[in-house]
Symmetry: C3
Subunit: 333 residues, 3 copies
């Protein structure tokens, strides 16, 4: 495996294979598998889980890592092709990426959406500019509209919990004081569809996921025998749900319009997941969230601290699935 950028680049069998490897590494550690191997980590945006689990994952397999964080110890990097660089950025990724790649055996990059131009973000313009000049294995640690490591960890979490493939999976918009990117909702709706779930996207008016994201999920669902629908009707959505996956994101009507976003958002503070959201769900319905989560804003304490919440398990699984990705990419055969 040379690239881990999007679950959609892999067949269902390949994903199941990665998940089996993650499980095997949990049960039977391989402390020498990546001996002498180095993962370069480039974080354009803050991180807690991803940063620490990538570093630990490499050391548990006998390898190591280094971290570059533009604006925190390193300078800003330009990604735009042809830019006249007389602004804040001191270096272009056309130099930085090949250089970092030359020091490492693989690179992992986190680069969030610009959040202004939907077409550019859907095309992963920033991330692709980096991928194009990276001649080493590359891992997407969250891009404009994807977060495959999170998606894989969430898939594993549902497997661990024996959530049935045909069950109802509700991706629900929840309140946050600011507009967040589409990476996790986009990755999540696709992952759930690819796993064969019957997916409902529950979101207020103005927060529909872009058509391209929904279409991609729908074709994954078609292949896996599931379905994808969307609604703003909370009762309808939650009826019989086996999983409620809470996530915050910004308005798409239009995308990146901060004024509209603020106006809509101000009316939506009741989109906080509280115990009564589970009145119509399956009895054993789970609450998932990729973290970080704002307590008593996006999800109430009672839910996060209650038995439905599996948010910590999802985070624990980040380590296992990333170790599987590193192993598949870098282990000597």
């Amino acid at each position: 495996m040379n690239r881990f950028l999007d679950l959609a680049d892999f067949s269902r069998e390949e994903v199941l294979d990665l998940l089996a490897l993650a499980k095997r590494l949990q049960e039977k550690p391989e402390p020498q598998a990546l001996s002498g191997r180095t993962l370069g980590l480039l974080f354009f945006n803050p991180s807690l889980r991803t940063l620490s689990s990538c570093q630990v994952g490499m050391t548990r397999l006998g390898g190591n890592s280094f971290v570059i964080t533009p604006n925190h110890g390193s300078w800003q990097l330009e990604t735009a092709q042809g830019a006249v660089m007389d602004g804040a950025a001191a270096e272009h990724v056309r130099e930085a990426i090949p250089v970092l790649a030359s020091y490492a055996d693989a690179l992992g990059i986190r680069a969030f959406a610009d959040g202004h131009d939907l077409a550019a973000d859907l095309a992963e313009t920033r991330f692709s500019a980096m991928a194009a000049v990276c001649d080493k294995p590359l891992i997407n640690l969250e891009s404009a509209v994807n977060h495959p490591c999170q998606a894989l960890a969430d898939w594993k979490t549902m497997d661990d919990l024996q959530v049935a493939a045909g069950g109802k999976f509700v991706l629900s918009w929840v309140y946050h004081p600011r507009a967040l990117p589409l990476a996790v909702p986009s990755a999540t709706v696709h992952m759930a569809a690819m796993r064969g779930m019957n997916v409902t996207v529950l979101r207020p008016e103005g927060f529909a996921l872009p058509t391209a994201i929904m279409d991609k999920a729908r074709s994954a669902a078609a292949a896996a025998g599931g379905s994808v629908s969307e609604t703003n009707d909370r009762d309808e959505a939650l009826e019989g749900a086996q999983v409620v996956y809470a996530k915050e994101w910004g308005t798409t009507a239009p995308y990146g319009d901060t004024e509209t976003d603020a106006k809509l958002r101000a009316q939506l503070r009741d989109w906080q997941i509280r115990p009564d959201w589970f009145e119509r769900t399956a009895n054993d319905c789970r609450l998932m969230h990729c973290l970080p989560v704002r307590r008593n804003v996006a999800v109430a304490d009672e839910v996060l601290d209650g038995p439905r919440s599996v948010v910590r398990q999802e985070a624990f699984n980040r380590l296992a699935v990333q170790m599987a990705v590193f192993h598949r990419m870098l282990a000597r055969q």
Copy 2:
């Protein structure tokens, strides 16, 4: 050993045992003792010695570490129970700590005092909120009113220098442009008392250590055969001292009152340790300080660069004692 949060949690024998282990590891390295073990380091506040000595300590024992710094590459973390998180903090420690703990074999946390509510800081409210959700071994790398790694290194430094247990130990307030927390003075007065020193806290009016801190030190002194007193009389305090331990802290009259602090502090610039402070002390009286120290503000160059100063040795010993703590916590039996 599952927790290293406060020297007071250990018997004198247990402390002596840790110090013996520190010495043994200095003399006889064990480069494989913690092979495959990972220490997660969470720094809410800046660090130089603690950060580097923890990382080096782990690698010298064959293990490794990772570092998360809220506000520098990661986001702010909330510690208050029940908080409605619509402010700056993006994640609660109730998620972050179990997640980081799951990636690591032990966690080390630095989280300074809030500095507003004395009762809360004395109760270690912030640190305790994290300790309560950490199911792995945990090390206090400086909390509101404690710094046990520093205390243990200082104890070792006095042992290395053969400072007699019954000697006079003066903890002296010194000037600093800003109010600093009570962690080091609190840990120091207790450590010196527990080591059996006759401790005098020398401080200007308005800077008395809280009663709870003094009482804790007094009961340690009672058990160890030493004593604890306080005074604002410099001549009396320094008379016959074997150790002068310089430290900066904020006013406690009342605690956290920045206006009072600034007013009092402005008159106290002569609380700078200069050579003439040693006119009445024992001939071989030592100058200790936990570092960082502001030269020619808290302590004069002549003292820091002279033969009395053992501030570097104290810092060197941080590595040895922390290696002992890591070893005791994580070495396979």
Copy 3:
């Protein structure tokens, strides 16, 4: 080798020897050579290549490293002797350096010029204050007027490309929105002279390199059989060049005068290396730059993306030459 601070501290033979070691380590890895060895890295200024290549270099040799960055996770450090530290800096290097050195087997330090006092910067006042209190092997990772790791990597790059020793080497000033330090131009003119090149420094009026820098390069040239000259005539300089080494720096007329610098600089936007700069050079003339480079400001895309550019190779070679330095310093004999 106990210090790697300036190529001028070494004989030509010693440099060639280091380059041979760099090549050997590229061809025949020694993954255990520095087992158990730790490099402490202290970065007063941002870094991408230096930080990552130092960390990777140590791990590839079986060692490890730690990083301290004042202002990003650690506090500001004072370097001035006798300073009354009531300002921003919380700690003096007279404490910090011996402490970090005690935890490490060697230190690497990056500390740029203050940029105000030419004599002080030429004397490496800040770096020397740290070197004076460091009792472990020490590496200059860029100081006021030097960058020996970059110089060594550039030398290796010319060797790899079989650039003839007697060829014409043009160090050309190029435009940048801000005044940058003299470290790289100073190191480069000396390195090229020491390698036996016929060096021309091409720079606009007001940007002549200081006499001390030119004199140092001239004596290296005299010993190696090359030459050093300077001009503001672009055509004359570029005629027959085998290497154009582009670099940005601030005015020296007078040094550190930001107003003069801004006024001069505003007229010099055409000092951007474009394809037509190579009309009079040798056919196979190379473009070198230490990176980071501002595209379409200092050097045009067409040049950086064309076959003349060897800027990435220079950066790749940072790893190899630094591994040679670490190995020479720290490998057990």
